[in-house]
Each structure stands twice: as C-alpha cells, then as structure tokens.
C-alpha cells in the first residue's frame, strides 16, 4: 500500500523581522486528514509559521508546500486548498452571521452558497442568531462564526491560529469538538496552541516550537516517552514528615510535588528501589503517607525538552 502524499511539508523555513530571527529552520510534515498541533509559548514563531503557510508572508529561506503546491511560487493554487482562522475573529460586526457567510461563499464562487451558509449556521448552533448583527454576538459565537466562514469553501487544509485563546472553558470544549469533527470529515487541521492539554487532547501529532526551531516532534505518546519514567509521588500529612523523608531519601533525585507536603521521587522504575524507599520510611516511622506512580504529562515533557536545550 502506498502512503498518501502529505498535506503539508515544511522544509528549513527561516524568517527574520529586521534583526530578529523568528524562524531558524523549521521542519515538519503533516499527514492528510490528521490534526497537527504546533505547540509553543508566546513569541516562539507559531503565528509567523502559519502566516507563511497561508501565503500571507514570504519566508526568507526554505520552502513549504500545501498539497504539493509551493506557498510562494503557486500561492494562487495554495489559496484554493486552505483557509486561515487567525487569533482575532475576522468578522464584519455590522453584517449578520448569515451575510458574513454568504460573502465568503460568493468570493469562493460556491454554487450552493445559501444552502451551505444555512448548513454551517446549523452546525455551529448559530441558526437562531443567523440574522442578527454580529455586533450582538458573544465572544464564543464570534469565534464559531469565524471558523464557519473558514469552512464555507470546504477547504482540504485548515489553519487555526490559537483557536481557543480567550474562550471560557465551556466554549473551549465546544471548540475542541468542532476541531475533532473537522478531522473526522477528512480535513487536515494545523492548529497552534500554548496549551499542552489542548495539544494532548486534539492532536495526532505534535511539534514543539521553541525560539524558532522544532525541539521535539512526534505523537503524544512519543513525546511522553522522552520523559524519565519511574517518578513516585509521595503525599505526607505534616511538614515534619516531609522533612524527615527528604533526609532519608537523599540518595534519590527529589522535586517538590504539586500539592502541599508532597514530593516527587525519581526512581529507575524497578521494584528494588521502590521497596527501598518504602522500607526506609517505614523503619523511621514516617508511615502516614500515600504514594502513587506519577504519569508524566506533556507539561513535564515540555519543561524537560526546553531544559535539555
């Protein structure tokens, strides 16, 4: 069986603003129909990367292809393949939701633009508000309309630049379901995010962008494996017990835990070290505690990866 050609190929992309190099050679590949998360903090270069892929900006070096079309040489063809939803809802306040959608439909020369607009209003739960001015919409409704506008022309590749930034938890969950359903219908989604849980929940594949380079790239499971395994979380009840435990376990790397009176102890993951820890604590009467193996989170991976660099 032949592998389908990738939807997005990015090779050695560089970009500078004046003297500041934002992208220092970015590489990644996105498979057809998958959700790809570009994860990074503010200023990592996420938006710049998306702008180059969406033909809004030209790279200084390297190249990028969308469904086989070069984003610089064949920008016109690329625009037929993509849509971009930016960080700020690009909607006309003084038009209704339905009018916003129909304008995009007209510009995309859709023969069924009115039916398509109704379909998307329905899907994004905006049918009741469809004939109201967008000025009356809430933040979540605007964001949904923004995405609906992007989907009007049924683009095979969709870019979402921080789609949940500024949304409340409820709208955030709703947005996650929307993104999932896009991929389910065969659309390739590239999203950028600062939120690790978002990438972890949504993405088939994650690339961590830090200061203009991809420092890690893989599935959620692959990224988690880059973490040291065998962390045991010990939860004590008093400060005195905690201090005693720190003294007893000096042979092991210890980090502060996430809650009060808790520590994370690094072991090799074997039974021998585990038994040793429990024995030591028991012998010295530090027995009033609970323990649990700690699942490494993407946050741990992120911190470890940046730390390594």
């Amino acid at each position: 069986m032949t592998q389908p050609s990738p939807a997005i190929v990015v090779k050695n992309l560089t970009k500078s603003y004046k003297n500041h190099q934002v992208l220092k050679g970015v590489n990644f590949t996105v498979q057809q129909g998958s959700i790809f998360a570009l994860l990074g903090s503010n200023g990592a270069g996420k938006t710049t990367t998306v702008k180059i892929l969406a033909t809004l900006m030209q790279p200084d070096g390297g190249r990028a292809e969308i469904n086989g079309c070069d984003v610089v040489q064949e920008a016109g063809a690329v625009r037929n393949e993509i849509s971009l939803t930016g960080q700020y809802a690009a909607v006309d306040e003084m038009l209704t939701g339905r009018e916003n959608l129909r304008i995009i439909g007209a510009l995309r020369h859709l023969p069924d633009k009115n039916a398509r607009a109704d379909e998307l209003l329905d899907f994004f739960r905006l049918t009741d508000a469809g004939d109201n001015l967008v000025a009356t919409y809430s933040g979540g409704m605007r964001r949904r309309l923004d995405i609906a506008m992007s989907l009007m022309g049924r683009p095979p590749v969709v870019f979402l630049d921080e789609p949940t930034t500024g949304l409340d938890p409820q709208n955030r969950l709703a947005m996650w379901e929307i993104v999932k359903s896009m991929a389910d219908s065969g659309t390739t989604v590239l999203l950028t995010t600062q939120y690790l849980d978002e990438a972890e929940y949504l993405a088939d594949h994650i690339a961590v962008l830090h200061e203009g380079v991809i420092i890690a790239d893989g599935t959620v499971d692959e990224l988690k494996q880059k973490l040291p395994q065998g962390i045991i979380q010990l939860q004590f009840k008093t400060e005195a017990d905690l201090q005693k435990a720190r003294e007893l376990l000096t042979g092991y790397p210890i980090r502060r835990g996430e809650t009060a009176f808790a520590i994370d102890v690094q072991t090799d993951g074997g039974a021998k070290q585990f038994a040793d820890i429990l024995n030591k604590l028991n012998y010295w009467n530090v027995a009033d505690f609970t323990f649990a193996p700690k699942q490494p989170t993407l946050e741990d991976a992120f911190l470890t990866l940046i730390g390594e660099k």
């Binding site: 625009r79 849509s83 009018e99 992007s150």
Partner: protein, 263 residues
C-alpha cells in the same frame, strides 16, 4: 480532490469587486454616523450658510443660495470621507484583509468595493444637499444636458475623493489618523471659489484658491446649474484634476496596500 480544486475559478476583479461592493455598501448603510452625515449635515450647512452667514455675504450678482450650492455639495461629499477612511482602515487592521488575502480572489477588489460604495453613499448626500437647497430657495436653470454634465463631474470628483479616502485608510496605523487626514481635506472647499468670489481674498490665499482643484469644479458646476457660459478652461481643468488625481490616488492606494501586505 486536487483536480476539482484546480478546476475552481481564480478570482476575477469584476466579480469579486461586485461582491465587495455589496459588502461595503451594506456596511456604510448600517452606520448611523454615515446616514447622519449623508442626510442631516447638508440640511444644517444649508441653513447656516443661507440664513446665518447669508445676510452678510456679498457674492456679486448672485443670490447667496444659488452661489454656494456647488461648494456645499463638495463640502458635504467631503464630510462623508472620514467614515470611508475609517472603514478601510478597520479592514486593514482588524484581520479582515488577512482573511480575504488567503482566498483565491482579486487582490484589489476589497479597495475597489469601498470606492464604489462611496459613490452610492455620496450620491445620496448630493441628492439630500440639492433637496435642502431647493427648500431654502435654490433656483437652478439647468436643462437635462447640464444636469448630466454636473452628474458626470460629480462622479469623477467622488471617485477622486474616494480613492484619497482609501489611501488614507490603508496608510494609517489607526482609525483616528485615517479620519484625521480626510477631515483636513474637508476645509479645501472653503479655500476655493465655493463660498465667496476669489477676488475678495488676500493675494496668497487667492493664488491658492484659484489654482486648487475645487475651484474649476465649482465654477463649472455653478455655470451649468445657472445656465451661464462656462468659464474659460474650467471644464477641462475640472476633468483633468479629477481624472489625474484619481489615477494618482488609485496607484498610491494599491502601492501602499501591496507594501503593507507583503512582509
């Protein structure tokens, strides 16, 4: 999937501009400020100039209202322009233009749409101004041909102003400065033959007034409206100014738009 997409049409300037025109027109008709500017300001200006200043104005052998109508028309058209500049500017700065630029459409269609919507908005203003003028005693003696010529000159003038507003809108970093530049243009009709004969002005102002574009446009319109002989070269100067400046502003608007969107 890709074959279907390749077969999809590329943007056409005409079709896309028509869509953008519809959008801009809706936006402008739904702005309370634009409606106010288009309908109320002409009436207020008429009343102020005819009943407040009119008694003290000496405009030669004309009635005050007959003399000032062309100047008031240019003035009211100009007052609608800051709103156009602000609208263009908000498209540029609020991410709207980025959405359109990632779509396969003709690049300048968004600007062309604004310019044509300005034509409609200004036409309403002109109609309101002439209506108000008739109510306060304006008595034109122009025939159909003269009115058609007046309409033609106004279309050229409005396009020239519309493209200047677009330049101001694409150039400005925020809406305040976009509106500010266009408000400054609003004083030009006062420094022309629109409200008093230029002969009454001090030398420096008179040289400026007689050589700026508003004066030949106003003189031509006044002569046509009152069915008088056209002043020498005024019609030609009016057309050349409007067409020439439209070309210049259109070129500037596109150049600035290209520069701002290529980074």
């Amino acid at each position: 999937m890709s074959t279907m997409n390749l077969a999809r049409r590329e943007g056409s300037l005409l079709g896309d501009s028509m869509t953008m025109f519809g959008r801009s027109l809706k936006l402008s008709m739904r702005s309370p400020e634009a409606i106010f500017m288009a309908l109320i300001v002409p009436a207020v200006l008429m009343v102020v100039f005819v009943y407040v200043f009119g008694g003290a104005m000496d405009v030669g052998g004309y009635s005050v209202v007959n003399f000032i109508v062309p100047g008031i028309i240019l003035q009211t058209i100009g007052q609608g322009m800051p709103a156009i500049a602000v609208r263009v500017n908000s498209d540029m700065t609020k991410g709207i233009v980025d959405r359109f630029r990632t779509m396969p459409i003709a690049k300048s269609s968004i600007l062309v749409g604004h310019a044509f919507a300005t034509l409609v908005q200004s036409a309403i203003t002109v109609a309101a101004t002439i209506g108000a003028a008739l109510l306060v005693g304006f008595r034109p003696s122009a025939g159909l041909i003269e009115w058609l010529m007046i309409a033609g000159i106004l279309v050229l003038y409005i396009f020239m102003m519309a493209w200047l507003a677009v330049v101001s809108g694409v150039h400005a970093k925020e809406s305040e400065s976009a509106a500010g530049l266009m408000s400054m243009i609003g004083i030009l009709p006062f420094l022309s033959s629109g409200f008093v004969p230029t002969e009454t002005m001090p030398w420096a102002l008179r040289v400026f007034a007689e050589n700026q574009p508003m004066t030949p446009i106003i003189n031509t319109m006044r002569a046509l409206m009152l069915d008088q002989p056209l002043p020498d070269g005024a019609l030609r100067a009016a057309i050349l100014w409007c067409v020439g400046l439209t070309v210049v502003f259109y070129g500037m608007a596109l150049a600035i738009y290209q520069r701002k969107t290529r980074r």
